[in-house]
């Protein structure tokens, strides 16, 4: 996995909390910085794709490992 600047663990949280927490975390970050999000909600895979598309933040990576979903999102 590529480098990241901040990390958000949204494990155990269900829709729409991972998105809301990620949005909050990104708001406090500078443009170009990367947020690593960890989630267990299977719906978050499609949701983070849609979030990136609609907000302009770049979803650099989306992967699954041991039942957890990992996302790297670059703040626009």
């Amino acid at each position: 996995m590529a480098d990241f600047d901040e990390e958000l663990d949204a494990s155990g949280l269900n829709c729409p909390l991972p998105i809301l927490r990620a949005k909050k975390a990104l708001t406090g970050m500078e443009a170009g910085k990367v947020l690593h999000i960890i989630a267990t909600d299977p719906g978050s895979v499609k949701d983070f794709e849609a979030f990136a598309k609609q907000t302009g933040n770049e979803l650099m990576e989306s992967s699954e490992e041991g039942g957890k979903f990992h996302f790297l999102m670059k703040k626009s």
């Binding site: 269900n14 829709c15 729409p16 909390l17 809301l20 267990t40 979030f51």
Partner: protein, 169 residues
């Protein structure tokens, strides 16, 4: 790109139906939408200072699974199909169902209504209480959270008329 707008009319005042308006409003706000929720009739319950009293009723609601949020998996999987006539006659049935639902909500990592409402407020979702129904139900402005507007249908249309999405919930 111009900011998109979401207008919601919230008309239901039960725990289950409190979710859609707050989930959609908070998510839309996170996506950059400007959001307004117009609360009318029973939807006013969603703007009360204390939302911990919201209840869910399985009575006359055949779509609602009644499953236990505790015990071994085989027990959790049982759908308790209780006849309406029993539900209607057992005192406290609704309260019990609400306690079980809240436990299920917590078990699934789903946010509470208070939490979703707070997140919506933080994201600058605007709430409007229908003035007519506030008076009709004998409520007082002190019953509701601060920072909300009181207005009528015309005020709703001012925003809804220019919205990209308008939902009646």
């Amino acid at each position: 790109m111009e900011q998109k707008k979401l207008a919601i009319i919230a008309t239901k005042g039960t725990l289950d139906w409190a979710y859609p308006p707050f989930i959609l409003a908070s998510t839309a706000a996170a996506l950059g939408y400007e959001v307004q929720i117009f609360a009318t009739f029973y939807g006013l319950q969603l703007l009360k200072k204390d939302v911990s009293g919201l209840k869910v009723s399985p009575l006359g609601n055949p779509g609602m699974p009644m499953k236990m949020p505790f015990g071994p998996q085989w027990f959790k999987n049982i759908n308790w199909n209780i006849p309406n006539i029993i539900q209607a006659n057992v005192p406290g049935y609704e309260s019990l169902a609400t306690v079980l639902m809240k436990q299920t909500i917590a078990n699934n990592g789903v946010a509470t209504i208070a939490e979703l409402r707070e997140l919506s407020q933080e994201a600058e979702v605007k709430f409007i209480a229908c003035q007519m129904t506030v008076e009709l139900f004998g409520f007082d402005q002190s019953d509701f959270i601060d920072g909300i507007d009181y207005a009528g249908a015309a005020a709703f249309f001012e925003f809804a008329g220019e919205s990209d999405i308008c939902l009646y919930i």
